[in-house]
């Protein structure tokens, strides 16, 4: 193994060309890519300097402009913003919600679509499979705003379908948007409803790409369906599953703002189970104009996510050297 690596490296070295000159062709390509590079710098790189918010006590100085206020006149406070953040009583709850929901979403978001993808490729009728696949893909194209109206049609206190059913069966109407105990389940259900079809299609595309001769030889060796699934399909799905897994773990500190803010109608009574980091950042920014906390949280989110992404990638590569994102 080691020797192989060395050999490859030894061969590669002489092939590598010397740094070429910058040709006319390169100039044309550079010009062609200029708008996109400008976009990247303007909308991705310039905001990166905004992390200084997290270490400053930003105060706008009238008449002096934003940049002057931020870099010159606002005071450096070191890690004070983070200290305040961790002293705030809500923060433990916010982290619990963010990470907790995400772990559940990752587990369901991988097992369910993989199982369904394997099942749907087994159906006798291609037509039924095609129609069902198309149908469950729909929620992927809908926005959380629209979905929040769907949910409202079912859960509205006085007119919702669920309450009408409960009342008609002699029960008592439930104040859905005021009772936090139902929402962890509701949120998991709604999120699964929106995302499973899309993931299923991703896995299906991989499964239909698997070489049929593998299954043929398995059948000749007497393997049944169950053994084929675990022996061929699942191992061949592993690279896709691990890419999905790594990406999800990398964003374990960020949540879908639309799900937790729009779908719950920003209801204050539900805040214990619906406030995640993104909701907190948004509210601190828009409702209380607290730039320092919200950017401290955002920085934390970004850094932790980046670290986790790298760790997850290393772990996945340890388990299976063929998989991994980079």
């Amino acid at each position: 193994m080691r020797k192989d690596n060395l050999a490859v490296k030894g061969e590669a070295a002489p092939i590598r060309k010397k740094r070429r000159k910058f040709t006319w062709d390169d100039l044309e390509l550079t010009l062609l890519s200029l708008p996109t590079i400008a976009w990247l710098i303007a909308f991705c790189y310039v905001p990166m300097f905004g992390i200084v918010f997290a270490f400053k006590n930003y105060k706008y100085k009238p008449g002096k402009g934003f940049l002057y206020s931020l870099f010159v006149s606002s005071k450096w406070v070191g890690l004070k913003n983070f200290e305040f953040l961790f002293r705030s009583p809500d923060i433990a709850n916010i982290f619990r919600n963010t990470v907790g929901y995400n772990i559940i979403f990752i587990i369901i978001g991988i097992t369910l679509p993989v199982a369904l993808a394997i099942m749907i490729t087994q159906l006798y009728s291609r037509k039924v499979a095609k129609v069902c696949q198309t149908a469950v893909f729909l929620p992927h194209f809908l926005s959380w705003v629209v979905i929040s109206y769907f949910v409202f049609a079912f859960l509205s206190t006085d007119k919702g379908l669920v309450n009408s059913l409960i009342v008609s069966m002699g029960g008592e109407a439930i104040l859905w948007y005021q009772d936090p105990k139902y929402w962890p389940y509701l949120l998991v259900f709604i999120n699964t409803w929106k995302t499973f079809g899309y993931s299923m299609v991703v896995y299906m595309a991989t499964i239909t790409g698997i070489d049929q001769s593998l299954y043929e030889s398995a059948v000749i060796d007497g393997a049944n369906k169950w053994q084929q699934t675990w022996g061929i399909t699942v191992p061949l799905l592993r690279p896709v599953i691990s890419i999905m897994f790594i990406m999800n773990v990398g964003s374990i500190f960020s949540t879908d703002f639309g799900l937790f803010f729009q779908v719950t109608r920003d209801s204050n009574s539900l805040i214990n189970v619906t406030q995640t980091l993104d909701v907190y950042v948004h509210k601190a920014l828009i409702q209380s104009n607290n730039y320092n906390y919200s950017s401290a949280v955002a920085l934390l989110q970004s850094v932790l996510g980046c670290i986790l992404l790298i760790i997850a990638n290393i772990v996945v590569k340890k388990i299976d050297p063929e998989s991994g994102l980079f």
Binding site: D25, D26, L29, T30, L31, L32, S33, P35, T36, F43, C44, Y45, V46, P47, M48, G50, I51, F53, F66, L116, I120, Q122, Y124, S125, V128, A135, L138, P139, F141, L142, S143, W144, V145, V146, S148, Y149, F150, A153, F154, D158, K159, G160, S164, G197, V202, A205, G209, Y215, E216, V219, V240, R265, D278, V281, L285, Y291, V297, A298, C306, L309
Partner: protein, 310 residues
């Protein structure tokens, strides 16, 4: 038809290797149920939107309303200057955004796919880093509003989402794997510039990937509401896209409900009725629901291109 679906496949190998008929029936049932669960809310909201006000006041939202009426759509048509305007906004943002997004992603994708490009390494890093690290919401908001002065403009809803690392990588992978080298060489020999090669030789044979990314962008822009929430304030209602109209209606209602004492019956009456709100939802959803089955294959194709490691 039904019988045919249940029959064991007859073609070659599949005859020997398929699930039992009972398992097949069970799986079919599961998927039909899932499909129904997925479509039920859409159908439900549609039925609400064509129910009459009276029957909703009486029975609440129901799959079987006592009375049907198209009143809500008529009102929608009458309030053209607000709803119609926001519909035009949504369409405009979607078209312009998709166009800009396609130009941005395809050009960089093409440049990165050229094996001998001088700054390929640098550009790749420039592209990957934003995927790993970002300045966060606050920084983005402050930069967009204070430096670029995008607040309360259409550009605030268009520019920030026009490009993404993922789209560029999909483009690059497509160009890398499918463009025949000969075409670009022949263009160069004929003395064409890279811009000309790109627009006249590369783009015409890259329609699948253009369609894929174009559709990604189209659906994203059509569904865009967060940009409007951040950057458009309530004094600029003429800029609202449809999605945000839905949010602002909801906001106004809960605001009025909280301050009931201050608002008379009349002002509550001016709000769009329930059926009308659901009718707006349908205006948003119907174009998607009617078109996505035809475009679906591009999405699946795009995903598999993107999944190729690069």
């Amino acid at each position: 038809m039904e019988k045919k679906a249940k029959r064991i496949p007859q073609d070659g190998f599949n005859r020997f290797n398929c699930i039992k008929p009972t398992t097949n029936a069970l799986f079919t049932l599961i998927f039909v149920l899932l499909a129904i669960i997925t479509f039920l809310p859409v159908v439900f909201v549609f039925i609400i939107s064509i129910s009459s006000e009276a029957s909703i006041a009486q029975n609440g939202y129901s799959f079987f309303p006592a009375e049907l009426s198209l009143e809500s759509y008529k009102y929608l048509w009458q309030s053209k200057d607000y709803i119609g305007r926001s519909f035009v906004n949504s369409v405009g943002i979607t078209l312009v955004g998709t166009l800009i997004g396609l130009v941005l992603t395809s050009t960089l994708g093409y440049v990165l796919s050229r094996p001998n490009y001088y700054m390929k390494g640098l550009y790749t890093w420039l592209l990957i880093i934003p995927m790993l690290f970002s300045g966060g919401l606050v920084a983005r908001y402050m930069v967009n509003t204070q430096i670029y002065h995008l607040k309360n403009t259409y550009w605030a809803m268009i520019l920030p989402g026009a490009c993404s690392t993922f789209y560029v990588i999909v483009m690059r992978t497509f160009f890398q794997t499918t463009l025949p080298d000969g075409i670009i060489e022949s263009g160069k020999i004929d003395g064409a510039s890279q811009l000309r090669i790109f627009t006249q030789l590369v783009l015409p044979i890259s329609l699948p990937v253009i369609a894929t990314i174009g559709l990604f962008l189209t659906f994203n822009y059509w569904n865009m509401w967060y940009g409007a929430m951040l950057y458009i304030d309530s004094n600029h209602r003429e800029l609202y896209p449809l999605q945000y109209v839905l949010i602002s209606i909801e906001k106004n209602i809960s605001f009025m409900a909280r301050n009931e004492d201050y608002f008379r019956e009349e002002s509550m009456k001016n709000l769009p009725s329930e059926t009308m709100r659901m009718a707006i939802v349908m205006v948003v959803v119907l174009p998607i629901a009617c078109s996505y089955p035809f475009f679906q294959r591009y999405f699946v194709g795009g995903l598999t291109i993107g999944a190729v490691k690069g």
